[in-house]
């Protein structure tokens, strides 16, 4: 049997969900372990034996010097690096707090300076080249399974190219934007979550970031304005997960 691929999971600053979601694969995790050996994953194992990774999954934002060092370490020692989750791909919620780092630290910790070397939270993709970016807060776990299986079989994983709206239509969910006037970012948000929020009868909050290519954020903006939402509210909603300017 061929050698297993070495897999490293590296957590920068985040809520832990993107690493946790890998454990939520349950039996499928054991399927993956037919092809992969986990050599770094500090939430799950006390072993740390890697200095080379065939695939590195990096979650979280770069928010400290420690995060930046770890990211560079992961990049320098991996063949294929995946930015996993919206923190890593777009900065997510902590990346949307806009004050300069000094002011943020002062508001939270007082005048103690910056002994722990905090940085403004930025996505992984702003610091290193990544081979694949899989957003979602959290990402859909079936997706990461598919991507890792594709790589194990030598296939380049495919990026989806449709918005959340399409998944609503496929699941025959009622359109909460048109029918109920709820603020829903589904028309401009990168699909792949199976429209899970609309399943609950609530609007998409845009946690997977904008769909690249032919979407029309200006028209989404106009729709929300016509529904009576004010500028500041809409702009904040756009910016929250992906720092997206309407």
């Amino acid at each position: 049997m061929m050698d297993k691929l070495k897999l490293g999971v590296f957590e920068l600053t985040d809520c832990g969900g993107c690493a946790l979601n890998i454990l939520f694969l349950y039996e499928k995790l054991f399927d993956l372990l037919e092809f992969y050996e986990i050599t770094e994953f500090h939430m799950a194992t006390s072993l740390s034996e890697g200095n080379h990774y065939d695939v590195a999954l990096v979650t979280g934002t770069v928010s400290t010097q420690r995060d930046l060092n770890l990211l560079k370490e992961a990049r320098n020692h991996s063949e294929y690096l995946i930015a996993l989750g919206t923190c890593a791909t777009h900065g997510s919620v902590q990346g949307s707090v806009e004050l300069p780092i000094r002011e943020k630290l002062k508001a939270v910790y007082g005048d103690g300076g910056d002994p722990m070397r905090a940085l403004d939270s930025k996505p992984v993709v702003e610091y290193v080249a990544v081979d694949f970016a899989l957003p979602g807060c959290p990402y859909d776990k079936e997706e990461v399974y598919q991507v890792l299986m594709d790589i194990a079989k030598g296939i380049e994983p495919v990026r989806k190219d449709y918005p959340v709206c399409l998944e609503c239509k496929l699941n025959e969910y009622e359109c909460v934007l048109v029918k109920r006037g709820l603020p829903c970012l589904g028309p401009i948000t990168y699909g792949g979550c199976k429209a899970v929020c609309v399943r609950s009868g609530l609007g998409c909050i845009g946690c997977r970031g904008p769909l690249p290519g032919e979407v029309n954020p200006a028209s989404e903006y106009e729709i929300l304005k016509s529904l009576g939402y004010d500028d500041e509210y809409i702009i904040r909603k756009f910016k929250t997960f992906a720092g997206w300017e309407p």
Partner: protein, 415 residues
């Protein structure tokens, strides 16, 4: 001399510790939370209340529902909104799902490898596959409850001020009733397993919890009287940690499963209560390591209570109606028992419904001083007695007993 522990493994988030040695003796221990700060209170400031629980959920993946529910309760109290029993029962069901998901993750995947001498549950599975599978079955059921109530396994947005986006169906409740009964056997086995663990870490002197089992209007402790957190709990910044440290009347204290059992055993379900009585003597010593056993007993409690709630809701039927929420100027505190212990969300809201002040204190921040005290006690006992590797191994286990959630702990602000 300083012995630096490497970053903790099998815990959530990034942290480590330094052991300060002077004249051949352990002088001090510093728990360093090196996870970057995330500034959640700044993030929610000025935001419309309706969107806030979804943002707060992002504080933590393991206990996102505790954050959503604490946030929703804080907001409802600020507006003077009262919700009917159906909604409180469903919130309770969601929190129970979180207890099951979080405790089984902790006990089976993070702690059990220590018990059996493996670096992780995956490698442990070669010899103890059944046990790992049992843990995963409990965890999956916990997540199922989180999907039904919260909308998805991680960061669902279904829990809203005044109610829910979507209410569960009869079929879902029937499934919960069935499954919770079937899994009870596994949880009882977990209690037997974790009752065998040795005591380690410090003995806690003070315990704090909410006045109801899963949430409350006020806090209780080992001393008489109910209180608000501002009356007895103080926070301060540290130069070596992104998490602040809290003290109860100036002293280290403990929040979590063990404090809940010790302060609220009369609220337990029948089997859980019987198991508590069986192990009471041990638990009452207050060793922090018995938090693991307490969590196992809470697995039993959670399954029994989920079964009761599902039955009640099936008997009376689900109406699925939200309570209208009218924003007005106000202040409210949501106290919830997250799996790891007390969680506080405190808001002031202006008359257009935007957040004007927000303070969040998480269990790991509340336990910060207690973790340090436990590391210090353990390091003093072991330094010079066993080799450094073994000492550090035991210190890691001591940290793990708290089930620390480091991501949660790093964004505390008073404005």
């Amino acid at each position: 001399m300083i012995i630096e522990m490497r970053e903790f493994t099998r815990v959530e988030g990034n942290g480590k510790a330094e052991i300060v040695i002077e004249d051949g003796e352990v002088k001090d221990v510093r728990l360093q939370i090196i996870e970057g700060p995330r500034f959640f209170e700044l993030l929610t400031l000025g935001r419309h209340y309706y969107d806030v629980p979804d943002l707060e959920a992002r504080i933590c993946a393991i206990c996102y529902l505790s954050h959503s529910v604490a946030s929703v309760i804080g907001i409802e109290r600020a507006f003077g909104v009262e919700v009917p029993e159906e909604i409180t029962l469903l919130r309770e069901l969601g929190l129970i799902g979180e207890f099951l998901e979080s405790h089984s993750l902790h006990l089976y995947l993070l702690v059990a490898p220590d018990v059996f001498g493996y670096p992780d549950a995956i490698r442990m599975a070669t010899k103890h596959g059944e046990l790992v599978k049992e843990g995963l079955a409990l965890k999956a059921f916990g997540n199922r409850l989180r999907v039904v109530v919260g909308g998805r396994e991680i960061h669902g947005i279904n829990v809203k001020p005044g109610g829910f986006g979507r209410y569960p169906t009869v079929e879902e409740l029937e499934e919960i009733e069935r499954e919770s009964e079937a899994l009870l056997r596994l949880a009882r086995r977990a209690v037997r397993l974790f009752a065998q663990l040795d005591p380690y870490g410090a003995k806690a002197k003070h315990f704090v919890a909410t006045d109801g089992y899963l949430w409350g209007e006020k806090l209780i402790s080992d001393e008489p009287g109910e209180f608000h957190y501002t009356e007895r709990i103080e926070e301060r910044s540290l130069v070596y940690s992104f998490a602040k440290q809290s003290r109860y009347k100036g002293e280290a204290f403990f929040v979590g499963a063990l404090p809940r059992l010790l302060l609220k055993s009369e609220m337990l379900t029948p089997t859980a209560r019987r198991l508590f009585e069986e192990h009471r003597e041990k638990l009452e010593t207050g060793y922090v390591s018995y938090n693991n056993l307490a969590q196992a007993i809470e697995l039993v409690y959670s399954l029994e209570r989920a079964n009761e709630i599902a039955k009640t809701l099936l008997d009376r039927g689900i109406e699925g109606e939200n309570v209208p929420v009218e924003p007005r100027e106000g202040e409210g505190i949501g106290y919830v028992e997250a799996p790891r212990g007390l969680l506080i969300h405190h808001y002031r809201i202006d008359n257009s419904g935007n957040i004007a002040y927000s303070n969040i204190i998480t269990p790991t921040a509340l336990n910060h001083a207690m973790i340090e005290a436990s590391l210090l006690k353990e390091a003093r006992e072991l330094y010079g007695e066993v080799d450094e590797g073994r000492m550090i191994g035991r210190l890691e286990e001591t940290v793990r007993a708290f089930d620390p959630c480091i991501s949660c702990s790093v964004h505390l602000v008073k404005l």
